[in-house]
Symmetry: C2
Subunit: 112 residues, 2 copies
């Protein structure tokens, strides 16, 4: 099991693109998520976006770095930056992503 | 360092898309590589494709499951299937892919 939530307990079913970057030397790295059509913004949906939660068998990773982009005055897409400051955080994140990718048919491709 | 070669000692600089699939229960999994514009087929290049070698600091992974697709009578693109039969092989492959992805700016996206 590996899933993403924007509001606790509610699964986000839109599958994002995820770009990865790492600093050349340091241990800092970034994952940028783009949700083109998040269910959280679908009509009639009143849940509040409180952050992004990545949940798997090991537990939960979370960030508050969640930004909505507006189209015609309505929130339409979501961009999330997930920042990691150590190799251990990166390793943990990649374990989540492996599980999430397997489950949702993601592969690797040019992230830009 | 993480690189791919089709002929020993010669780096392939075209960056592939990589789709991942895993069996629901068993430990078998597959990575499908697609090279749209491999340097190995560029004009004047006479190297022989003897397999696909994935090389990083831990050593080498290889497969002979390499197929060229022809356009106008010329080999144009390459598809490679890399098959894994255990969790350990998958883990080793993902360590290679993490390194390769970092170095070549790959992220995760729908592998279709």
């Amino acid at each position: 099991m590996a899933e993403i939530q924007f509001s606790r307990g509610i699964t986000e079913t839109d599958v994002p693109k995820v770009g990865l970057t790492r600093a050349k030397r340091g241990s800092s790295s970034t994952a940028k998520f783009i949700f083109e059509n998040p269910t959280v913004f679908q009509e009639g949906n009143t849940q509040e976006v409180t952050g992004m939660y990545m949940i798997d068998e090991e537990g939960e990773l979370k960030t508050r770095n969640v930004n909505a982009k507006f189209v015609n005055g309505q929130p339409a897409t979501i961009e999330v930056l997930y920042l990691m400051d150590s190799q251990a955080e990166w390793d943990r994140f990649m374990r989540f992503m492996e599980r999430y990718a397997e489950q949702h048919g993601l592969g690797f491709s040019k992230s830009k």
